[in-house]
């Protein structure tokens, strides 16, 4: 169902774009192809790693590390990890999804995904150059706190 919607949307917009401007549509497809080429190997490596993860890490191991049993520790670990790393969503979402299916808690995964997009420790020096240190510190700090809050709420609603 979801797959059909995405394909339908992409095809309709593509035809619409083609109708409006051929050269632009061609550029869009070339951009998509280049993006695919840059992502292909990392994504393939991630998928293979997920294969290992699903075969070796049993739900009980994952559950102890970042599952319901892990409590605060799991959420904190996931949030810190999400804050520090700089990962493409194309890699992060399948990985997070596979952990979720293997027994990770919604809380931990939500903390990871939310901090991943909102908090950037690695990009903080760059952010400070544009907006100043105070702005950067408070934006990231507040985002981190709210991310934990979002994770806790999501964990209590989705089980």
């Amino acid at each position: 169902m979801l797959v059909a919607i995405i394909w339908g949307l992409a095809i309709i917009l593509l035809l619409f774009s083609l109708f409006q401007n051929r050269a632009k549509t061609w550029r869009a497809l070339i951009f998509a192809w280049k993006f695919f080429r840059s992502m292909a190997l990392p994504v393939l490596a991630t998928i293979w790693a997920i294969g290992f993860l699903l075969s070796f890490l049993t739900p009980s191991i994952i559950s102890r590390a970042i599952g319901q049993e892990s409590g605060w520790w799991g959420v904190t670990l996931a949030a810190l990890f999400g804050s520090v790393v700089l990962i493409q969503a194309f890699i992060a979402f399948p990985l997070a999804g596979s952990l979720l299916r293997q027994g990770a808690s919604v809380r931990a995964i939500a903390a990871f995904v939310t901090t991943l997009v909102m908090v950037g420790v690695i990009t903080a020096p760059l952010e400070a150059k544009f907006f100043g240190r105070q702005f950067t510190f408070w934006r990231n700090f507040l985002s981190f706190i709210l991310a934990i809050l979002i994770a806790l709420i999501m964990g209590s609603i989705l089980r």
């Binding site: 979801l2 774009s17 632009k24 192809w33 393939l44 490596a45 997920i50 939310t114 907006f131 105070q134």
Partner: protein
């Protein structure tokens, strides 16, 4: 160090490990491959249209459009446009930094720029489909529904803190 951990080398390492596992536990090695294949098929079922959407957004909504959407003034309508366009424009958070600065220069408030940055970082239309695919509609929907009010709160607190301490200076 960075060269060693390239995607290609990791792939080679994974392949060698997989072969090694095959010698000790053939069933396990095949299980790894079949698990990976399931995910590969799931990925391939959504990746082409999402890439096409990203390409189309990239061409039709380039970064300059975000600025132009603001117009020369930065009223509520302007910033709403910038935020809306920001969900369609592609690029990581750091791509939005120069845009945020130029919004400030056009007179947008600190609150509005903070909202713009946070929305840019956390809401990307093509990626929402991707999140639904791998984390489920409940997860993606709830995260989005909780993130938007959080962004308003973050930006409000940010504005209050920086104003009270009169810390904010343009760098």
């Amino acid at each position: 160090m960075k060269k060693f951990f390239s995607a290609r080398n990791i792939l080679i390492l994974l392949a060698l490990t997989n072969i090694l596992v095959y010698f000790f536990a053939p069933a396990k090695a095949l299980l790894i491959l079949s698990n990976a294949r399931t995910y590969l098929l799931e990925m391939l079922s959504v990746m082409p249209p999402i890439l096409v959407l990203i390409g189309l957004f990239q061409v039709w909504v380039p970064r300059q459009t975000v600025e132009r959407a603001m117009g020369s003034k930065s009223g509520l309508k302007g910033i709403m446009m910038a935020i809306l366009v920001g969900t369609a424009a592609m690029g990581p958070l750091y791509a939005a930094f120069p845009l945020g600065v130029s919004l400030l220069e056009k007179g947008a408030s600190l609150f509005n720029v903070a909202v713009f940055l946070c929305v840019w970082a956390s809401v990307k239309i093509p990626m929402i489909f991707f999140e639904i695919k791998f984390l489920g509609p409940d997860f993606a929907g709830l995260r989005l529904a909780l993130t938007l009010p959080s962004i308003i709160l973050i930006s409000f607190l940010l504005k209050t803190i920086l104003k009270r301490r009169s810390f904010y200076e343009k760098t």
